[in-house]
Symmetry: C2
Subunit: 245 residues, 2 copies
């Protein structure tokens, strides 16, 4: 059993008895599915440990990676409205999740406002993360996408108390490529390019973040020519004549 409120990052309030806050735990071996795209949904999940890959089958039959989930992330929420999972979730390493059955989800939320609030907070933050992820797929050179991804990943690892310097990537090159929208060979070359610049050091899936500032510069590269984008925090060519502070 598992304290859901703590997992969702709620402040440590004590309005509910211990047993009321707990949910059953489910453990997964590496490389197994938590749920499959299209399957009838019976529960949503909150990650307690491990890394998950969220993906869906693309229109062309390929695998589209939507993102990676870590401690505190909610999985399968899209099934609340549809009753079916719209994407699959795979454990990349040994993992465990808290299980919240859909059947009594709303009863639970109604009878425990603190849980409802914690869920909303977590979902909100997750959406913010999702929006940020859209940036790594923007129309920028592969090297910039990888730099953005690494910064994003490092930041999330840091939130789980991990070292900022030494990071173990639990993800293979192919999946990184499928997240960034580039071929795995290009991922390799981009890793090499970042190494040459001295921003990182890579050996297999072990990663050293040597120069975060340098990565931020590269993350600003624009398509076409590899030059850092001009600082245009002032601009905004007057379309949308909203009062831009």
């Amino acid at each position: 059993m598992l304290d859901l409120l703590a997992l969702l990052g709620a402040p440590d309030i004590q309005t509910e008895s211990e047993s009321e806050r707990d949910v059953p735990l489910r453990r997964l071996p590496p490389r197994t599915a938590l749920f499959h795209e299209g399957a009838a949904a019976d529960a949503i999940y909150v990650v307690r440990a491990g890394t998950f890959k969220c993906c869906r089958t693309d229109a062309d039959g390929g695998e589209q990676v939507l993102g990676f989930a870590r401690r505190g992330d909610v999985l399968g929420y899209a099934a609340v409205g549809l009753g079916r999972y719209t994407s699959s979730a795979f454990a990349l390493e040994a993992a465990s999740v808290g299980v919240v059955p859909l059947a009594d989800l709303f009863n639970r939320l109604r009878s425990r406002p603190a849980l409802d609030r914690a869920l909303h907070q977590a979902l909100s933050l997750q959406q913010a993360g999702f929006e940020e992820l859209a940036g790594v797929r923007a129309a920028v050179p592969a090297e910039a996408r990888l730099a953005r991804f690494l910064l994003h990943w490092a930041q999330r690892m840091a939130m789980s108390g991990h070292s900022l310097r030494q990071i173990k990537l639990t993800v293979n090159r192919r999946d990184i490529g499928r997240l960034l929208g580039i071929a795995p060979e290009t991922v390799s070359r981009a890793f090499a390019a970042l190494s040459v610049r001295g921003c990182i050091a890579v050996k297999g899936r072990m990663l050293d973040m040597l120069d975060t500032d340098g990565l931020h510069v590269i993350a600003r590269f624009r398509a076409g020519n590899a030059r850092p984008a001009p600082d245009r925090s002032w601009a905004t060519p007057r379309s949308f004549a909203g009062l831009n502070a």
Copy 2:
């Protein structure tokens, strides 16, 4: 004032008095901002009419389009956890939204379970849509991305009771490009290509969906060569004069 439950697509239950279900309305002229990225958040919104463009400033200073919102969509939800908007929302045409102040959001949700439930349902569906949007940015040729986008858009229009055949795009080419991760010129060329194949007819922002099945075929094109991906019962590598010329 505005019936929030109906707007969120909740079944027409009558557990609450009329006045309890209503929220203030806000109207927006075309090309004005509902809120700006980074601004302190005081409310979330539910679209009643019009089309919104959701975007954020990319790391390189460019504008990244995250998606387009229509009736029933929730805007600004990412601010629930952060207190600040993580993206901007612009009305592309005259629009109106229901306003739900953040200050008493949780009180409201606690005292009105039906509203909480409706919100969860809507958010869940929205996440499903967001995941589907990731498909249009996948590593596939521009023509396939546009085909996917048009199918996605048409389906959403259909849900608002619109015609499936004749569609008015409220979005300009630049913004479509920024959503799909391709240059506006390429959007133009992709429109032209789909026209030549006879799948659509375009004149400015008026769009005719002539051959939905054909669009689905093109949506399966893979990167590199322009061939339909898995199902190769009728392989024709280069120029098939169109199913509907």
